[in-house]
């Protein structure tokens, strides 16, 4: 293959006419389908008898995509051969498909994106999808919307397609979902937080700025993330700039949205019509198969537009039988609803097929029961076998009276039986042939070390797979994997992705009880599958915590951060930086140490207060000093990345309460007000708040100080009132009577006034 030259030609073509390009990441970058994917890339696994890649191509063809780049990593030869022989490479398909072979070191979608950038594949807005997509959404409509938006807003770099599904849906992955915060009007994605099945998350924290700047937001936890992204050219280059981005959602989207420096926007397209989902694990393999057979993907259904070009007859009850007349169903066999049977398949007497997909050239022996299983082509299932909720690879030979329990995966070419019993969630693959020639070792290059490991561990596993078996058994869980890792691929979270696993024991159990739960579960039949999941905490809007302080930051990191801020501001003060420069420096600091905005504000306010020199005797000189400092540095408070004036006042209050500059509180407040850093309404709001009145705090000097500050505030409020209505003087006199009570503690909303000598001074000053 000569990617360089072909790419060059395409560029020339693209300049002439705008071609809608698509990039397919044809590698899954995970091992959820092992051992089915040891000798075959996942995108070539058949779903409803057509390779996943064909479904993806069809989805893109429906959208009028003209040029497709297929990024392949594992088994690239197979993918290339498949593309070459598929109907897409025939003249008249109108689509150009270019397979791109990426390096073995590409371990994540992020790496693949960087590869796209270095190769310069895309020239304009492009569609980014995964190689396991099944969709009938009109992607061209989304592209249109995206381009329209780009005309007015150059920073709208990406549009994600999501599909409403409701919180509990068979096609919605529990293991890898997300909370989207959208602006209801523009459907801009404001915040993205990914969720896992295990450890279950009950809290999503949303930055306060979002709620402050957007009057109307939707917090959604019911989307199927279709992984269809309309990206602009900047997207690959952003990946290049941020080499630590691995996952498109968890790293890139989250990173872009939380970044204060990039200032890019990401939008969502909530698909009302159409269907889109990804076969990302064995569980979604099952649910998407069912969706296809129940015709949710119409017109992409087996009898209408089967991506591999097979023709099926649709029979009442959503049964699909190949049309070419080579399927032989014995008179006494039963084929239940939602079944698909490929051509040249023979079903013998008394065999039962229930909600299953059977590939081409299969043989189902007499009396065999196939229940909710997916059997690839060329497989032979002997008489009397029972197969439940499993995926059986191609050219497998299951000899008579073998029982395969739910959740099992049997790799290509395996022979089992006779009279064997594969327990639930068993995984089998074929023993590798001993290498005799050099060619073969080449082919085995892709069979990674994991397979060898499994093979070497065979001695310790004793499962009776029958006399003729050539299978090796995969251990239940990868032994070296860290049990408590936070990654999506952690063992327990993987159970949410597993076919036939209800993971019901995970919903409540603590980590310690997991192993026992697994044992007991394998013995109970699939009686109450999935229903238990209703009890899962589906982190909905009600459980969202909106308090940014709730996100626990390490105390040490925080004190370090405070120190940094102090130093940085000191430097700014002494070297006379501009306010803007100081603000950028603070933003960077905040991101480096990942602290909430309120912490920064507190630090800035206290630094500014400390900057004010205390001048003995106070009076005019002191006021002058305050005015100087506030007018020079005050604007910084509102430039650190968000404006929250109430918080500013609270920060000022708490700082003053524990500082020797307590007497200056009123004057500083007045100066801030004069410089428009805070506004009257904010002072009122602060004044109303319970915390600013010092309620609920244990009595101490500090609490008293807080109360005193609050009283000064009361004064100011009163002056505002007076300015508004000069005749309102009686209130002040009334206040004198309640003086003593105020010292004890204030009731909320009580606007009575306390008069200290000190405050009288300030009142004079503020009147000026």
């Amino acid at each position: 293959m000569a990617p360089k030259s072909t790419v060059g030609n395409e560029k020339l073509l693209d300049d002439q006419a705008e071609v809608l390009q698509a990039v397919i990441l044809a590698d899954s970058f995970n091992k959820r389908f092992r051992p089915l994917t040891t000798r075959k890339p996942r995108c070539l696994l058949p779903i409803c008898n057509a390779p996943l890649l064909d479904w993806t191509f069809e989805s893109l063809a429906l959208a009028g995509v003209q040029e497709i780049f297929v990024i392949c990593r594992s088994h690239p030869e197979q993918i290339k051969a498949k593309i070459a022989e598929s109907r897409w490479s025939k003249p008249g398909s109108g689509i150009k498909i270019v397979p791109i072979l990426t390096a073995k070191e590409t371990f994540s979608p992020g790496d693949a994106m960087r590869d796209i950038y270095t190769r310069g594949l895309v020239t304009g807005d492009f569609v980014l999808v995964m190689g396991d997509l099944v969709s009938n959404i009109r992607i061209d409509e989304v592209v249109k919307v995206h381009k329209e938006r780009r005309k007015t807003n150059k920073d709208a770099i990406m549009t994600m397609v999501v599909k409403e599904s409701g919180a509990i849906h068979r096609t919605r992955s529990k293991a890898d979902s997300a909370v989207f915060v959208l602006d209801s009007e523009t459907s801009e994605c404001l915040h993205f937080e990914s969720m896992m099945g295990y450890p279950p998350s009950t809290i999503a924290s949303i930055p306060r700025e979002i709620l402050a700047t957007h009057p109307d937001v939707e917090i959604r936890n019911d989307f199927i993330d279709c992984s269809i992204d309309i990206c602009s050219v900047e997207v690959p280059s952003l990946f290049q700039d941020n080499f630590d981005y691995l996952d498109i959602r968890r790293d890139f989207v989250h990173g872009v949205l939380t970044s204060d420096l990039l200032m890019k926007n990401i939008y969502c397209y909530v698909a009302k019509e159409g269907y889109a989902a990804r076969v990302q694990d064995t569980k979604s393999y099952e649910s998407i198969s069912k969706d296809i057979l129940s015709r949710w993907t119409f017109p992409l259904v087996p009898d209408n537009n089967h991506p591999a070009g097979h023709l099926y007859e649709h029979i009442r009850g959503n049964k699909y039988i190949d049309k070419d007349g080579t399927v032989i169903l014995a008179r006494t066999s039963t084929v239940g609803n939602k079944c698909l049977i490929g051509s040249s398949t023979r079903v013998s007497d008394n065999a039962q097929i229930i909600s299953s997909v059977v590939g081409r050239d299969c043989f189902i022996g007499a009396g065999a029961i196939i229940d909710n299983s997916y059997i690839f082509s060329g497989t032979r299932i002997g008489p009397g076998c029972v197969i439940e909720r499993s995926i059986i690879g191609s050219n497998v030979d299951i000899k008579e009276n073998t029982r395969i329990d739910r959740g099992s995966l049997v790799g290509d070419g395996v022979i089992i039986g006779p009279n064997a019993h594969l327990k639930a969630f068993g995984r089998l693959s074929k023993k590798r042939e001993t290498k005799t020639t050099g060619d073969e070792s080449d082919a085995d290059e892709y069979a990674d070390s994991e397979e060898e490991e499994v093979e070497s561990a065979q001695d310790s596993i004793t499962v009776d797979l029958g006399t003729a078996s050539n299978a090796i058994v995969w251990p239940p869980n990868a032994p070296d994997e860290d049990e408590d890792s936070e990654d999506v691929e952690n063992v327990k979270n993987q159970r949410f992705m597993r076919l036939g696993d209800s993971a019901s024991d995970l919903a409540f159990s603590d980590p310690g009880s997991e192993s026992s739960g697994e044992e007991s579960e394998s013995s109970d039949e699939d009686s109450d599958f999935d229903r238990h999941l209703d009890n899962l905490p589906t982190s909905s809007a009600t459980s969202l915590s909106l308090d940014p302080n709730g996100s626990s930051t390490d105390a040490i990191a925080e004190s370090e951060f405070r120190n940094e801020v102090r130093l940085s501001l000191e430097r700014a003060f002494t070297e006379g930086h501009s306010v803007d420069n100081a603000a950028v420096e603070l933003k960077t600091l905040r991101m480096a140490s990942n602290v909430p905005l309120s912490r920064v504000r507190e630090s800035v306010v206290s630094a500014i207060v400390e900057k004010i020199k205390i001048i003995d005797g106070g009076g005019v000189a002191q006021r002058q000093e305050i005015a100087n400092v506030v007018s020079r540095w005050g604007p910084l408070i509102n430039k650190i990345g968000g404006v929250d004036m109430v918080e500013t006042i609270t920060a000022l209050q708490t700082h003053c309460a524990s500082s020797e500059r307590l007497p200056l509180f009123g004057q500083i407040l007045a100066a801030l007000y004069q410089d428009d850093i805070i506004e009257e309404d904010d002072i009122r709001e602060w004044h109303q708040a319970a915390t600013s009145q010092g309620l609920g705090l244990s009595p101490s000097v500090r609490t008293d100080n807080i109360k005193r500050c609050w009283e000064i505030g009361s004064h100011m409020i009163q002056q505002f009132n007076e300015q508004a209505d000069d005749s309102d003087e009686s209130e002040e006199e009334e206040g004198e009577g309640t003086e003593d009570e105020d010292e004890e503690g204030e009731e909320e909303g009580d606007n009575s006034v306390d008069e200290d000598d000190e405050e009288e001074d300030e009142e004079d000053e503020e009147n000026e």
Partner: protein
């Protein structure tokens, strides 16, 4: 023939239509018929042939490809059959054989009201004169015949273009003043039929909504804007209103060989209700909807099942897992429930549809 550059060009337009049919980007019996005809015209104009069998073969291959792509749009196959029929007819005329072909035609019988003398139709494919298979000049046959063939295809084309007008020509004979007509779904044929009757008669139309496609709403809006007094009613009230209805007028998706038809889902309901009140059921359909097929697999719903999301939202996640939803596009309506078909070839009872089919298509094309 495959390596012929012209045939690859043909292949491209055929494949293009195939993928549009498969993806359901092209729907509706008249639209598909028109597109098929355009493709066939292109194919015939570019085809190389030196005798009639070669030409028929080329058209059949294309036709089979198109029909396989979308077996549910019957008008594709019908158009191919019709074109083949016309081509053979033109060929017989050109080869100066006596045109005994349509000496007796039920269409002419109905239209002109007088029987002609009956002569058996000889169908033998005899190869005569017209310089067929000329070894010196293999293209001469094509050169002579092509203009005639293009004309024949143009005739089919014109027929499709004018189908609505021809059907609604006699509308005033079927609808009388102060009648109450019930219809459902959105059918262009029925729409133009009713509108044309409104020029002469003053009558009322009741339109059922026709869930889940709600084509009835569109129909009602269109009729009402044409000044016809129109009521839009839910499907559930069809039976209740039937006692007041004088006539039920339906559109068809395909007319089958036994005189039954595939029509928008809901038609069976209306036709059954009409039968119990002995209300006449009239079907308006273009002749291109005549299909030499029988209903085989689906007793009530008919072979084309759509997306269940029109019936049950996909967001009802919990239900989606537990309930199987079927959303048939078409009902199969048995011939016993229908009274008359109004076509652009005259009015026919269901029992004589087989005869009409025999005249419209050649027997050997029934299986493409």
């Amino acid at each position: 023939m495959a390596s012929d550059p012209r045939s690859t060009a043909n292949q491209r337009i055929v494949e293009d239509l195939v993928s549009r049919l498969r993806r359901r980007q092209l729907v509706g019996s008249r639209a598909t018929a028109l597109e098929t005809l355009l493709v066939l015209r292109q194919v015939v104009s570019k085809a190389r042939f030196s005798n009639i069998d070669q030409l028929v073969n080329v058209i059949r291959i294309v036709g089979r490809r198109l029909v396989e792509a979308q077996p549910k749009e019957h008008s594709v196959g019908n158009t191919v059959r019709k074109v083949l029929h016309h081509i053979r007819e033109e060929y017989h005329t050109a080869s100066e054989r006596p045109t005994v072909q349509s000496s007796f035609s039920i269409a002419k019988f109905v239209l002109q009201g007088q029987p002609r003398k009956q002569t058996p139709i000889p169908r033998s494919e005899t190869r005569v004169s017209l310089k067929e298979n000329d070894p010196d000049d293999p293209d001469s046959f094509a050169r002579v015949l092509k203009p005639v063939l293009m004309e024949a295809i143009q005739d089919v084309f014109d027929e499709l273009e004018t189908v609505y007008d021809n059907i609604s020509k006699n509308a005033k004979d079927h609808i009388h003043s102060d009648e109450i007509i019930l219809t459902l779904g959105m059918s262009r044929t029925v729409q133009s039929f009713l509108k044309s009757a409104a020029h002469y008669r003053n009558y009322t139309v009741i339109v059922a909504e026709t869930a889940p496609s709600y084509g009835g709403r569109e129909m009602a809006a269109s009729l009402s804007s044409a000044g016809i007094s129109t009521f839009l009613v839910p499907d559930s009230s069809i039976y209740a209103l039937m006692s007041r209805v004088n006539k039920v007028i339906l559109g068809a998706h395909a007319i089958l060989a036994n005189g039954g038809m595939f029509a928008t889902s809901g038609s069976l309901l209306a036709a059954t209700a009409a039968r119990s009140y002995s209300t006449p059921v009239v079907v308006c359909a273009g002749q291109f909807k005549l299909t030499p097929l029988w209903n085989l697999y689906h007793e009530y719903g008919a072979l084309d099942f759509g997306d269940p999301s029109a019936v049950l939202g996909f967001e009802e996640g919990d239900l989606v897992d537990k309930v199987d939803v079927v959303n048939p596009y078409y009902d199969y309506v048995r011939p016993e429930l229908l009274d008359v078909f109004i076509t652009n070839y005259g009015d026919h009872p269901p029992s004589s549809i087989y005869r009409l089919l025999k005249e419209t298509y050649d027997d050997e094309d029934n299986e493409l």
